[in-house]
Homo-oligomer: 458 residues x 2
Amino acid sequence: MSSNAVAYARQNQARFVNELKDLLRIPSISTLTEHKADVQRAAEFVAADMKRIGLENIEIIPTSGHPLLYADWLHAPGKPTVLCYAHYDVQPPDPLDEWISPPFEPTERNNNIYARGAVDDKGQLWMQMKAFESLMQAHGGKLPLNLKVIMEGEEEVGGESIAAYIRKEGKKLKADFALVSDTELFAPNLPTLCVGLRGLVYTEIECTGAKTDLHSGMYGGAAPNPLFALIEIISKLKDSKGKITIPGFYQHVKAPTKAELAAWKKLPFKEEHFRKTEVGSKVLTGEPGYSVLYRTWARPTLEVHGMPGGFTAPGAKTVIPAKASAKVSMRMVPNMDPDDIIRKYTKYIKKITPKGVDVKVKILSKGEACVVGTDNHYVKAATEAMHEIFKKDTVFIRSGGSIPIVGDFQNVLKIPTLMMGFGLPDDNLHAPNEKFHIPNFHRGIESIARLFEIVAEQ
Amino acid sequence: MSSNAVAYARQNQARFVNELKDLLRIPSISTLTEHKADVQRAAEFVAADMKRIGLENIEIIPTSGHPLLYADWLHAPGKPTVLCYAHYDVQPPDPLDEWISPPFEPTERNNNIYARGAVDDKGQLWMQMKAFESLMQAHGGKLPLNLKVIMEGEEEVGGESIAAYIRKEGKKLKADFALVSDTELFAPNLPTLCVGLRGLVYTEIECTGAKTDLHSGMYGGAAPNPLFALIEIISKLKDSKGKITIPGFYQHVKAPTKAELAAWKKLPFKEEHFRKTEVGSKVLTGEPGYSVLYRTWARPTLEVHGMPGGFTAPGAKTVIPAKASAKVSMRMVPNMDPDDIIRKYTKYIKKITPKGVDVKVKILSKGEACVVGTDNHYVKAATEAMHEIFKKDTVFIRSGGSIPIVGDFQNVLKIPTLMMGFGLPDDNLHAPNEKFHIPNFHRGIESIARLFEIVAEQ
């Protein structure tokens, strides 16, 4: 390897990190309406750098939610076209008091950048941007292949706008393969391609009982309690061993192949180490008879994320709330149809709803699971590029998370996706003290630059 | 009846209401630490009026929580001594957006005063104060009997300080009977004495799982979820019909007498009317085989009031929270021992706690149920006083609520208590749009004034 692009990236490491910090300072929390302008500002920040580094046809595309961002560079006739994806929205930072440094004041400690969005996904978005810049600079103002970029500000809230856009603008987005930078290395220094994702259905069950909040002394024993009704309902959705008890829930589940299961067994993964260093609980939980990797990558799950309603401040208030709700999501594995699951889930909830309360099931987002093929030369180019940077063979893993866009690239655009990400398992995604290991940020830039050069040479 | 005290009260109705409004403007929410100074301010407001109307030995007594307030007037030798109780703290006003007028800007509509604390208990506290004033004015600067007043600012948070004070200052508080003004009329225009109260144990179950909040994609299927664990636990504390399933929970329950049950059946109470006008739910809930009055007055209950933890803002966040908690309270009936219930409750929770999480049960308050006797001449004087004002016979009821002080008066001071209150069943205690019917405020003042005069004549 003697890539000028890699050399340029190495010379500009300090500036690249500083630019990323500026992007991280924008609190682009897509789920909170008061941060709507910040999501727009994050899109504008990225768009401005796209212009500076020489991308063309840059568009900030308004939607009914947060804006999309498109750009391209299409002056490499005869060369393949890559469609790059990342997102500039982030999760809410709460609980705030558990952050060691403030979530929107990026801070370096132990060669990591700590900030909300550091690795999910602004840091990985910026890897792509800096790979584009390094290639442009190393190739005399040109890229070695054709590039289309589509980025969004709604990934953390379901990505409805980009899903609609892909369906509408299939021709505009047409490419030979996609690069999605939103995943992680399986272990430090271990180059990794993610080839499977779980799907997600995120719901809110709203429950109403009395017409107004009531005093539990005067009315306890006669008035329905929506919070207790939700507890009754949710306790019947999953048993104590982690098996989901919604009728027909597992009907279409497709198990991983024997070869894939065998490969997972060879990965450097110790359940006890995972428990201690990542989860930190007394024991791990979940369905008996499945390994942790199987349970988190290839088994569906159901989780409760929060139960708004009633009195939640410190202290005592003896209220029977008039209404309450529960945020409940389900992860799905290949072959499960989100609409089928939503039907079964809603039907079962209606059936088990105790008398005296009304329930309404709201669907906040849905996206199916997907498994991407590994038998194409883009995958080979990616493993070659990462071998140059890491000096190691790539492992193929799945992720328990959900990136609905990958399913859309596969099903709508009919192109394969490389999920080549550079996070680490302990990066605290969606949690306090999210971080990105700075050396991985740089290796990401270099790997993407080399990937494009290798694809272009083929 | 030709009471000068009643005449004075009637001449001063407008001023009495205006003074009450001033007291209601003080947001003395005892459970919220940021309102600590307001509880103090409410005590000072009442103390200043005590001084103005001629009470003596006024003390604002500091405690580890909110201050107590004591005053007396002891210049009626040979006459009985009454101990008056009310409280100047209030419940939190949330949910704020359901108030038609702001909770701390008392507003008159339809002959009611709307404000947090209007009836519970500042309005009823002020009835006592204005009865004292009217008697003083009508009796030439004297009262017809001896008076001790003990008021608190912690009733809504368990009243620990007053409980300790009564145990310590039994001699100082010694009286012939007590008057507690914190209950309601059974129906409009129906004079009522409350002769039974449920006890209360208020708990918070704290549950911890992983060491930090986790992403439900990456960890769902392997990490314990404290919110789901709480759901599992609480779903096993009470069955879908309202029966509490904690082993031994009903062991010591004492049922009402046949005579009492027969009297309840004669009360003007229609379950369907109660459902429609007070609860407003589709059906009423609770243990089959018991009437609504039986269930709410004389059966123990268990309720969930709120479940802090996880993500509760609008929108979607796929978090498995590291910790969550649940506010759970139990109402107890006569003969149940709070400490016995706490032991059984805690033991059972520990037993059914799912693996992977730790639980801690915190007791926020506890107080036993009580039933007071009706065969004393204070009760007869109260029914006579109310007959003069209402022209109707008094009914004897219980309340499902908890006033621990009544148990303390009975068990520690060994004196009978008159629970003579003037709220109405639809006054929205602890809920948005709490109100006090203004004519009942005035009838309360007059009834208390006459009660004291009649007791003094005997």
